[in-house]
């Protein structure tokens, strides 16, 4: 009986194996940023029947890509199949710098404020490379940014300060509280500039993110976007019973479903 317990434990954990995207449809390369000097490992998940000569593809840029690339790529394929729509390129951006550097818009106790340089890198180096080498569509409406936590903060910052780059935002458990809600101030400052663009935004949170910093700023950000943008398609979702990390995958699925069904 004693020998049976480790065996049962192994079986239980084996049943929770991580989803992995097909290696034959995954390309990777390294690229150095001129703006911050960091070297980023990029992974690209290609759609089935990928043919960049005949077709241009919408592209999702995934922050914290080293952690969630496979999950996003597997589910983009699954959801696009279910909805009988064209799949997209999934671009994982690895960590060139600490995420507290690249994903934070200003210098504060919790971060170094490198988001502007990071976004410059995406805009000036990564996107042009994806367009020239992988058949990524050049239109703003076919670019998506997806991020969670500090990554969600960076995605929210992309909305406020790089709104001409991305037309679609999947913002998950964003750290809007960062630096006395600086992203909300940036949204207000740049509202007039961004208001003419069409926006598709999903913002999600875990229903049990009750650490005293997530819920009210999340709602404030949602209200700002919903009430002040004339051409916006926005939804928000609280993933019941789950906390900050636990809600990440369910909210990614919700966000991707929202994008694929509303784009």
């Amino acid at each position: 009986m004693k020998k049976l317990i480790p065996l049962l434990l192994i079986l239980a954990f084996a049943s929770c194996k991580k989803e992995e995207f097909s290696t034959s449809l995954t390309k990777s390369f390294s690229i150095q940023s001129v703006t911050n000097g960091a070297n980023y490992t990029i992974k690209v998940a290609l759609p089935d029947n990928y043919n960049p000569d005949r077709q241009k593809y919408a592209t999702v840029y995934v922050l914290d890509g080293e952690e969630i690339f496979d999950f996003v790529a597997v589910n983009c394929k699954k959801i696009s199949n279910e909805l009988s729509t064209t799949n997209i390129l999934v671009v994982s951006i690895g960590y060139g710098n600490d995420r507290a550097v690249d994903y934070t818009p200003s210098k504060a106790t919790e971060g170094k404020g490198g988001a502007d340089k990071f976004m410059q890198f995406i805009k000036q180096k990564l996107i042009p490379k994806m367009e020239s080498d992988y058949g990524a569509d050049t239109l703003r409406k076919n670019r998506i940014i997806l991020g969670h936590s500090f990554g969600g903060l960076a995605a929210a910052y992309a909305f406020t300060n790089y709104n001409n780059v991305f037309g679609n935002y999947i913002i998950l458990s964003p750290s809007i509280w960062y630096d006395n809600e600086i992203v909300l101030k940036l949204e207000k400052q740049n509202r007039t500039l961004n208001n003419n663009n069409h926006q598709l935004v999903f913002i999600g949170l875990g229903g049990l993110e009750n650490m005293g910093r997530m819920l009210a700023p999340f709602e404030a950000f949602f209200q700002c976007l919903k009430n002040n943008y004339s051409d916006i398609l926005i939804t928000h979702h609280l993933e019941a019973h789950l906390d900050h990390r636990g809600s990440e995958n369910p909210n990614i699925l919700m966000g991707l479903n929202f994008y694929f069904s509303k784009r």
Binding site: K188, G212, A220, G246
Partner: protein
């Protein structure tokens, strides 16, 4: 189907414990920890990862036999004690109520009793935050959430008379693996690990 698989697995573990108990902890009459029919064990505790929630709880244990017991666990948690004001965000209230029932297996040593139990029930969470930043419009939002809860509890009772010392540790099996198979959801389990200390009273 997944749920049935995991419940079966933990019942197997519990069952194996009872087998070990019978094999290795044969009580000697008269000198061992006494069997009590019904005990009540009020206690206080905290969620240690991170230390942010204070818990007041009660365990009612009915020993059906020397080895097996039925258990009721009730708790109130005052959540997020140390961070109620942060970056213009105020936590107006934040608490959880928990009621679980379960079955336990007990093993005895000379001065103590160890009970391992599988508990299941419901958890009610309620909290509200207000953002009152002078540069931004004031916003409040609240969440009320009723969720299932299940987990394993270890309960150590020490002391042989009517009053005894009780130490409890609760390890949740929710949300991982019951509700969510992503390993990231383990954070939710860790946040609800509970350590409690209390005084038990033998009622019968």
């Amino acid at each position: 189907m997944k749920l049935i698989k995991y419940i079966t697995f933990f019942l197997l573990v519990l069952n194996s414990m009872s087998v070990f108990a019978q094999a290795e902890f044969v009580p000697k009459s008269g000198k061992n920890f006494p069997m009590r029919l019904l005990t009540i064990e009020p206690g206080i505790g905290l969620n240690p990862m991170p230390i942010s929630d204070l818990v007041v709880s009660n365990v009612l244990q009915w020993n059906i036999s020397k080895r097996f017991s039925a258990i009721s666990y009730t708790s109130y948690a005052y959540n997020n004690v140390f961070l109620r004001k942060f970056n213009f965000i105020t936590t107006d209230y934040n608490y959880s109520l928990n009621q679980k029932f379960g079955v336990g297996v007990s093993i005895y040593s000379k001065h103590s009793m160890h009970t391992f139990s599988l508990l299941a029930g419901i958890k009610y969470d309620s909290y509200q935050e207000t953002l009152d930043n002078p540069d931004i419009e004031k916003v409040s939002m609240s969440v009320k959430s009723l969720s299932p809860d299940a987990g394993l509890m270890y309960n150590l009772k020490k002391g042989r008379k009517k009053y005894f010392f009780s130490f409890r540790m609760y390890i949740p099996l929710y949300p991982y693996p019951i509700a969510n198979s992503s390993e990231w959801s383990l954070d939710g389990n860790m946040a609800n690990v509970t350590l409690e200390f209390g005084v038990g009273i033998r009622l019968k």
